[in-house]
Symmetry: C2
Subunit: 295 residues, 2 copies
C-alpha cells in the first residue's frame, strides 16, 4: 500500500476518530480487540449508496411489478400496485416503519413475483436491472453510486483484519448479486431481509414465506448475532432503523446526508439516530464536510 | 508446509480421490472452481467427532436437565426428563427423525432451561461441561474426540482457498463456543439449529422460540444457501440427515463408522446414505481402513 488510507476523507476530526479507533483496536492496550472479535457491520441504503428518492431495490422491484400490472390490469386497483402507479411514496415509507398492513401487502406481492423461482433466475433479473436502470436525479447506473469513502473504509478495516459485513433491511439475495464485485465482500458476509428457500429434487426454489423478520431495528443486532455469533465492534449506518445496530457496537459511525450539491440533503428517517448520536457521542460523518469525493 | 497433507489418511483410493478433487478444482480446466465458489460444508456429530452413544451435546443438555429434575422433582414424570431418568434412548432418537411430539417436548425443555439467558451465560455453561465431562466409553473429554483426519482435510481445503463451514443439526451456539479453538473455523462459519435471540436494552437474550427449523435433511442445503448464498462444492457427512447436503455438493464424502476397535461400528441412521453413496458414487471413508489415526 503506497496509496493514502481513507484518501477520500478530509483530514479532520472524523477521519482522525476512525484512524484512532482502528489503531487502538489493533494495538496492545485497554482498547485492543482480538482478531476473532473484529467484526464490522454496515447498513447499505444511505450508508453505502444513494437511497433517494427510494432505495434502489425499489426501482428494481417496481419495474417488475409495473410489468406485471401491464400484463394483468386487475392488479392496478390493488396495493402495492395502486400506490406504485399513483407514485404514492408515503405508502412505501410504511415499510421502514414496519406498518403491518403495508408489510403484508408487499410480502404478498413479492411472493406473487418470485415464489417458485430459483436463485439463478433472480440473479439474472437483478443483473439486467444493474445493466439498464439509472438513478433518476444523477442519471447513472445505481452501482456507480456507491460511496467511495466507505469502500476505502472497508479497505482499511480489512487491512487491519476486521471482517466486514453488510447488514441491511434490503434484500439479502438482491445485495449478494453485486456484493463481491462492488464491495469486495463475500456473499456469506451479507445479512439482509430474505425469502425462505426450499430444497427439493436437487434444487433450491424460493417459497412464499419470509425467512424470519425484516432486518430492521432490533432485528439488525439479532441477525448479526445469529449470523456471526458476535455483536459488531464497529458499525456504520444512517437511519433510525440502524439505531440498535449502532448501539450494539463499540464504535458507531452515522452518515449524515447534508450534501444537496453532490448527493441529497435530508434528515427524514434519521431524526432519532442524529439525536442519539449527539447523546451517545457517535461519530457523525458529514458527507459535505468530511468527504472530498462522494462517488 | 513441510508436513505431508492428509497425513493421517492412508494412501489409497479415498485419499487420492480427495487430492484429485482439490487439484482439479484449483487447476484451470473443466473442473475448476472459482475461488468465490469454494465452499465446503461438514456435518459435526459423527463426521467431525464421536456421536455414540449419543451426540455429545446431549450429554451437556442432560446434565443440566438432571440438575433441574433434582431441584424440581415434579419434572421427573414429564418428558423429556422421564426418558432421561429412564435412559430411554429411543425417545431421543425421535429427534433425528423429527417426530413432532418429541421435537416440541424437547423445545419446551430447552426453553425452560435457557429462555432469558445471555450468550455469555450459555457459553460459561458449555465451557464448564467441556472442562469436566468425559465420553463414557473412551473416558476422555469430548473435545479430544475430534477426528484428526478431518482437521487435516480442513487444512488442505483452507490452503486451497476453500471456506470451510460446519453445518450440523446440533446447536449453533453450542458449537460456536469451541469452533475457533478446535476446528480453526470462525464462529460465523458455523450453521446449526438455534434459538432466536432478542436484542433489547443493549443486550441479547435468548427467547423461547427456535430460529427457523432444525438444521437437518433438506434444512441443511436450505440453511447453507441462506447463510452463504451458495451451495457447497464439497460436503462431508455420515448420516441420513446429511443426504440432501451431500447431494447438493459436487464432491460428497460419507464417513462410515466401521471401526469398533478405535471408535464405534454402526450403520444405524446411515442406511439410506450408504445406499445413496453406492448409487451416486460418493466417496465413502472407512474409518477403519482409510484413517491411520482417528484422534
Amino acid at each position: 500500500m503506497t496509496e493514502k488510507v481513507l484518501a477520500s476523507w478530509k483530514d479532520g476530526r472524523v477521519r482522525q476518530a476512525i484512524l484512532d479507533f482502528v489503531h487502538a483496536a489493533t494495538t496492545p492496550g485497554a482498547a485492543f480487540v482480538d482478531v476473532a472479535d473484529r467484526i464490522a457491520t454496515f447498513d447499505n441504503d444511505g450508508t453505502l449508496w444513494v437511497e433517494q428518492p427510494l432505495p434502489p431495490q425499489f426501482d428494481f422491484v417496481f419495474r417488475i411489478w409495473e410489468a406485471e400490472a401491464r400484463t394483468d390490469p386487475s392488479l392496478a386497483a390493488r396495493q402495492p400496485y395502486k400506490a406504485l402507479i399513483e407514485r404514492d411514496q408515503a405508502f412505501f415509507e410504511g415499510l421502514a416503519a414496519q406498518e403491518p398492513q403495508v408489510v403484508s401487502t408487499l410480502l404478498e406481492a413479492f411472493a406473487r413475483s418470485w415464489a417458485g423461482t430459483t436463485p439463478e433466475e433472480f440473479e439474472a433479473q437483478v443483473r439486467e436491472w444493474m445493466r439498464t436502470a439509472k438513478q433518476p436525479k444523477l442519471d447513472v447506473p445505481y452501482l456507480e453510486l456507491v460511496y467511495r469513502p466507505m469502500l476505502e473504509l472497508f479497505d482499511l478495516l480489512r487491512e487491519n483484519r476486521f471482517r466486514v459485513f453488510v447488514c441491511s433491511g434490503g434484500g439479502r439475495d438482491f445485495m449478494r448479486v453485486f456484493a463481491e464485485e462492488t464491495w469486495g465482500i463475500p456473499k456469506e458476509n451479507v445479512i439482509g431481509s430474505a425469502a425462505a428457500y426450499t430444497y427439493a429434487d436437487g434444487r433450491l426454489v424460493r417459497s412464499h414465506e419470509l425467512l424470519g423478520d425484516l432486518n430492521l431495528g432490533a432485528g439488525k443486532p439479532e441477525n448479526i448475532f445469529a449470523h456471526t455469533g458476535r455483536l459488531p465492534v464497529l458499525a456504520g449506518g444512517n437511519a433510525d432503523v440502524d439505531i440498535e445496530m449502532l448501539r450494539s457496537a463499540r464504535f458507531a459511525l452515522l452518515v449524515d446526508h447534508d450534501d444537496e450539491q453532490r448527493e441529497f440533503a435530508y434528515t427524514k428517517g434519521a431524526e432519532a439516530s442524529l439525536a442519539m448520536a449527539a447523546e451517545l457521542g457517535w461519530t457523525v460523518v458529514s458527507m459535505k464536510n468530511d468527504w472530498t469525493t462522494v462517488f
